[in-house]
């Protein structure tokens, strides 16, 4: 498989009153074409920040990118001009499914208006190099292309199992249910035929039955259309169900990355082990992880997990562990990884 996205040593922080909070500290992440990658971690570990950095929607006045690169199809997104990024990457090659489908539609326009507006600019049929790319309020929308785009939209609404697409397109966002809106969001993310979809906890706002349907839908469509998905979640069960591979983040660093079956069968990082052990068991017992997520303004030196880790040694306190390849596709950042009993 070819490498689609590679985040290398990305370091960025947010300016706060207490100082620079290093939200991402040398993060690495690779996604192959067509791969569903789960990005797992506790709240506040930097999952969403990483997803936003890839999308290019970090708040410009508060975020400071200190180093690293985001290589997408061989080109570093951080070196793109904002105009080129908006034209060629955002909404074209990379699209996203937001966390909250309730606020993600503009409440004053019908669904159809909003979808066709996206198609006007991001449709795979659009003509590139047209003058209107530089005057984005005025561009024409030829009727012929509009009709063809409309057919694509209706076909895709069918694919995300929304019945009666024509009626739905005429409705306003508040007239639809959360599940319907999230299906529309998935459809809208797939319409420009992207290479990568970033799904930021797309099922958190939905109830469990709808969650399962939406997850199945994302998985199926990603496979059918060979679209890679970066799927952030704090729910390991969700990750198990739909991901090809999982990357675990802790306090702004990736700690372990492995194919899903390896990840759940042989977790190597102590944090991963504790995370898996913290899943509620069938007898109702819940095992927490002692300690708390470290302060990102003054993070602990060395491995950021060492204050909560019983395997920690002097080496863990002084230096950041390098990434170690245990198996093809399975890397871990730990001086004392858990080795499966051979």
């Amino acid at each position: 498989m070819t490498e689609l996205l590679a985040v290398r040593d990305l370091t960025l922080g947010f300016r706060t009153d207490a100082g620079l909070a290093r939200v991402l500290d040398g993060v690495n992440l690779t996604i192959d074409a067509g791969q569903v990658m789960g990005l797992v971690g506790e709240s506040g570990c930097g999952k969403t920040t990483l997803a936003r950095a890839v999308l290019g929607v970090l708040p410009r006045n508060a975020a400071e990118i200190a180093g690293g690169e985001i290589v997408f199809k061989g080109r570093d997104l951080l070196k793109f001009s904002p105009g080129a990024l908006a034209r060629d990457i955002c909404g074209r090659a990379i699209t996203f499914i937001p966390q909250d489908p309730y606020g993600s539609f503009n409440p004053v326009f019908t669904i159809g208006t909003q979808i066709m507006e996206i198609m006007k600019w991001k449709s795979p049929r659009r003509v590139t190099g047209h003058w209107s790319e530089h005057a984005p309020l005025l561009g024409p929308y030829p009727a012929e292309r509009r009709r063809a785009d409309m057919e694509t939209v209706v076909a895709l609404l069918d694919a995300v199992q929304l019945p009666q697409p024509a009626q739905i397109l005429r409705k306003y966002p508040h007239e639809l249910s959360g599940g319907q809106r999230q299906r529309l969001m998935i459809a809208m993310a797939l319409l420009p035929e992207p290479d990568l979809v970033i799904a930021d906890e797309p099922t958190t706002a939905l109830d469990v039955t709808i969650q399962a349907q939406i997850l199945g839908l994302i998985r199926r469509l990603a496979n059918e259309r060979n679209v890679a998905v970066l799927f952030t979640t704090h729910d390991l069960g969700t990750a198990y169900e739909i991901c090809d591979a999982v990357t675990v983040m802790y306090a702004g660093q990736e700690v372990e990355s492995a194919p899903t079956d390896r990840f759940f069968a042989a977790p190597a990082h102590p944090y991963t082990g504790k995370l898996l052990a913290s899943l509620p068991r069938h007898d109702g017992e819940v095992a927490g992880i002692p300690g708390e997520v470290p302060n990102l303004v003054r993070p602990p030196g060395g491995c950021r997990f060492h204050p909560r880790c019983e395997r920690a040694s002097e080496a863990c306190r002084s230096g950041k562990p390098p990434a170690e390849m245990l198996d093809p596709g399975h890397s871990v950042r730990c001086f004392h990884p858990v080795r499966p009993a051979a």
Partner: protein, 287 residues
Amino acid sequence: MAVWRQVLWKLLRDRATFLGASIILSLILAAILAPVLSPFPEDVFEFHTANRLRPPDGVNYFGTDRMGSDILSRLLFGARITITIALIAVGTAVAVGVPIGLVAGYYGAWPGDLLMRVSDIFLAIPQVVLAIAIAQTLGPSIENVILALSATYWPFWARLVYAETRSVKNEIFIESAIALGASPARVMILHILPNISSAIIVRTSIGMGATILTAAALGFLGLGAPPPAPEWGRMIAESRDFLPEAWWYATAPGLAIFLVVMGFNLLGDGLRDILDPRIRRAGGRND
């Protein structure tokens, strides 16, 4: 557009709003049809001193003024001046205030602060006083009244749009649009503006009433259109010397001003309820 049919329907069902809309519609019709409706159109600029100060009767429905002109005819032609002043002054204020508020609210930081502080300075001075000062300095004419009014009114729209923009710009759908590559201009004009347009429409309707009132005040003080223009505020000013005997002289233009201002306020109030689906009017008939 189903929405507009719905808005129109609600507008017709709500008594107060309907009344306001009817008054405004009559004002516009009166202004357009003034030459047809007025019994003595030539009276606007001609004197008939023999007829001066006649009380209302079958010929002069609202009586005559000190020059012997028919007051009703002058009122109808005065509607044209009123509408011209209100439309141009408020239009200019909206055209200046809305973009300033939008840009300041969207970008924030120091350009936003600067723009808002400037509008604060304008708001700190009582509006009528500032308008009088400007109109007095430039001399009495309709153009100067319009200039004075728009110069003092734009901060109201800038403030309103600024506050609304600040609250809308953090919505997820704005972030989504940016993530899809929408430019700042596009986000402001196509995503934020439609979301705050109902607030602007309501403010504009109520602002029309306030503008007409201030314009009448300027006319009363002799700062409006020079005589013999049939300006409502000036008509009241002229009548002062003949009160209380010629009671009809001040009553007719006073009632006209009162009705028009009330009409715009009722319409603005009603539009607020109609355009904002979150507020359900308690007293009105609703299903």
